[in-house]
């Protein structure tokens, strides 16, 4: 045995290479998924003779992933605690039809000709409905101890009924000014560039701050070049993305829903890594008994996770209504499949305890990439389902196989 007592606080940063291989092992699935994503894009780019990677399509692709990926961010935490939520798609759908109904019928009489006020009210109601539903589900699951699978399955049925009731089988328009900006608008091109600059500055500030803190605690610092390269890589990605979407002549700029998704993904990532609430979720999923004996309230934590999930479904529902421009009986149907698949493709373990939000975002992007690509190739919808399902199983199979060979 060559290792000795832990003498260094952080990972001994022997060589740049060994550090990188270690990281690579850790985030294995994430990297495999990035490779898969690039391969998928490459294939569709060739098959569609380049139109797949046109600014228009890239702009749409990210916007398309936003509704399900918003929910996938919450789903990661739900699955990490060893639970599941089958009702997310229908909850978002229900929120979308309620919001559409309010937009089309209620606000026009309550405050006519005030589209901004109407939109704000819709957002508030939408988020509240989602959150309240989450509170109810969370209470039944955490405090009354009915398994999440059953509660959310029941919920799926109930919501299906509520959607029918709300729409009366009709399509409700939700394409009013201001409100439709939420799902269809763009951050103007100049502001998009400005945002990139702000983010880059923040990353630099954050790095310097982190290094200062590490030094204060006497931890060995990672090489400055590594930190700088990391920031450079993120910035380049952002610049490329904004460069591409800004060159989409009809509607330049970052789509608002993508911006919203990015914001929520960052916040939920932070919550999951750096707050007690998030840490506890991973501990509960990893070993419930040990978590309980460490003084963690399992009930409260799981309850709050379902509340968060409900809130995110509310957000997704509002975006959905605005993005498609109407509420229908079919709203959100089957989205739960994409949401769960995104989380799992991103490395979330169905056994609990393991999973990351950035991983789920890549998973969501893969799902959306497959959908749009196959659509552009005019593949029948049936094929889309078959391919998505196969990709999911194959990806997990590959991961299992690679991990086994690793140890």
């Amino acid at each position: 045995m060559s290792n000795s007592t832990v003498t260094q606080p952080a990972q001994p940063q022997k060589t740049l290479l060994s550090g990188l291989t270690r990281r690579f092992r850790q985030d294995f699935q994430t990297y495999t998924m990035i490779v898969a994503l690039v391969a998928i894009w490459g294939y569709f780019a060739v098959a569609t003779e380049g139109s797949y990677v046109s600014p228009q399509n890239i702009s749409n692709l990210f916007r398309q992933m936003s509704v399900t990926s918003l929910m996938a961010a919450g789903m990661v935490l739900v699955i990490v605690t060893g639970n599941i939520d089958l009702s997310v798609g229908r909850l978002a759908g229900y929120v979308s039809v309620i919001v559409a109904y309010l937009q089309a019928n209620t606000w026009t009489t309550v405050f006519p000709d005030q589209p901004a006020l109407a939109a704000i009210s819709s957002v508030i109601v939408g988020l509240s409905v989602g959150t309240l539903w989450g509170i109810a589900q969370g209470y039944i699951i955490a405090y009354l101890r009915v398994p999440a699978f059953i509660v959310t399955l029941g919920s799926l049925f109930i919501l299906q009924g509520l959607v029918l009731l709300q729409t009366e089988g009709k399509t409700i328009p939700a394409n009013q000014p201001v409100f439709s900006e939420i799902g269809q608008g763009y951050l103007p091109a100049e502001l998009s560039w400005g945002l990139v600059a702000v983010i880059a500055a923040f990353l630099v500030f954050n790095m310097l701050n982190g290094r200062r803190n590490k030094r204060r605690y006497g931890f060995p610092l990672p090489a400055l070049t590594v930190d700088v390269l990391k920031i450079a890589a993120y910035t380049v990605l952002l610049v490329v993305y904004v460069g591409v979407v800004n060159s989409y002549s009809i509607a330049p700029g970052i789509p608002y829903p993508v911006l919203l998704l990015a914001l929520i993904a960052v916040v939920v990532t932070y919550v999951s890594n750096n707050t007690r609430f998030g840490r506890y979720a991973y501990a509960i999923g990893g070993n419930r008994d040990a978590a309980r004996l460490s003084g963690i309230s399992i009930k409260r934590n799981i309850f709050l996770i379902f509340v968060l999930m409900g809130f995110l479904c509310g957000v997704a529902g509002v975006v959905l209504a605005s993005y498609v421009g109407y509420g229908t009986i079919g709203a959100g149907g089957g989205y739960e499949l994409d949401v769960i698949a995104s989380a799992i493709l991103g490395g979330t373990s169905t056994l609990g305890g393991v999973g990351t939000i950035p991983g789920a975002m890549i998973g969501g992007l893969i799902m959306a990439s497959l959908s749009t690509g196959l659509q552009m190739l005019n593949a029948p919808p049936a094929l889309t389902y078959v391919i998505k399902g196969s990709v999911l199983v194959f990806a997990v199979l590959l991961d299992v196989y690679l991990k086994r060979n690793d140890s």
């Binding site: 952080a10 040990a290 963690i296």
Partner: protein, 505 residues
Amino acid sequence: MSEDTILEFRNVTKEFPGVTALSDVSFKVKRGEIHGLCGENGAGKSTLMKILAGVYPYGTYSGTVLYNGKELKLQNSAIQAAVREGIAIVYQELTLVPAMTVAENIFLGREPVERGSIDWDRLHSETRSILEKYRLDVRPQDVVRNLGIGQMQMTEIAKALSEDAQVLILDEPTSALSEVEIDRLMEILQTLKARGVTCIYITHKMNEFFRITDQLTVLRDGKVVSSQPTAELTPEKVVGLMVGREMKERFPRGARQPGDVILEVQDLHAEWAGREVLKGVSFALRKGEILGIAGLMGSGRTELVMTLFGEFANVTSGAVKLDGKPVQIKGSQAAMRHGLGLVPEDRKRFGLVLPQSIVRNISLANLGQFGGSLAVDEDSELAASTRMAQDLAVKAPSVQVAVGSLSGGNQQKVVMAKWLLSNPQILIMDDPTRGIDVGAKYEIYKLMNALAERGIGIIMISSELEEVLGMSDRVMVMWQGRSQGTLDTREATQERIMTLATGLA
């Protein structure tokens, strides 16, 4: 290889990412002997045995293992292959299925089958005959989840015995057993030896080696430092070989002055699942005192401390007083608010989140200490956890590795670190040194003394009488859910404790 050598390791090397667990291990095991294997936590003992048991199959290590004169090549379902070769193992970490009964566990994977369906009658009767033959104190129909860890260990042993093996490997089989059960096991091993079964025996309890082993191999840092007849050795020599330096005393003496009573338990009765598990327990703990709790398996020691922590039985009568005020503790959160800490007995089940890093495990019960009310300051978390890991000499390539990849003893140190960091007023430790090597035990004892000197009251359950006598100020002895009496350690002897523990007084 001569006739009477059953097993030979030749230059066996096994590496994990970042760790060389075994390097160039060579030694022989004679047919029919009891061969002891000892070394510090993380020396590579379990890893070597897992190679024999097929957990690490042929090709995942280098070097050769000769078994009955032929090279042992366990491949493709290597674990079953090892069983077929006649190699049985009791793992250090329990491997039972909690939801199944003792009988089902013993025959798991080898269920007797009659025309395609399991022959339950035979399964139960064979289990009963094994348990009776070796006089093991568990019942075939008990569900494993409801057993104490000592009984689980008994079940594991019964399972290995039922395989009628040529080579029986026991990896710390007695870590959770008390004296009486250990005596039982020693007898069983003698019987097996008389029948020609070869046994490889791992323990951290030095006296056991000298009671039953014929030959002793010492590992240090994955290398063999000595392999010789036990008769040529002394406990001091073995410890010297293990840790590479002399150790003068086993128990450091602290200069502590116990103060006022901080915890008082009066005639506590408690019930769980309709059964009375505590039938009258009374004791008092003072500030700065180490109170030992002794008792046999099933005497209610663990039930008592889990109940005090609010995580087990329902109190039906009696009182618990903290600083003279009666309290009712409902759950570990409340217990922690009252200043209690609990190092639980079963580290894998109650102590650790195995896939998470050392840092995250140590900080889990203590996140409130780092940063504000919401966010966790990762730098101070890392600093504090690292300090604890160093104080307890946790052996690992880095504090960021998953706890699941550590050796058993080092996992135990991580649980200790977690609770030491939580700064309790009263620290309850349920067999805290289970599976910890002599050197590290000494460090833990020193820490306990330091805590007691700071005025913290410590309750220590231990199955090792020597440890109880060596470390505590007073010893409470339990028998069948009752406190049988409290002895001052200065006047207590192993005999007096055993008399109380077996209900004879």
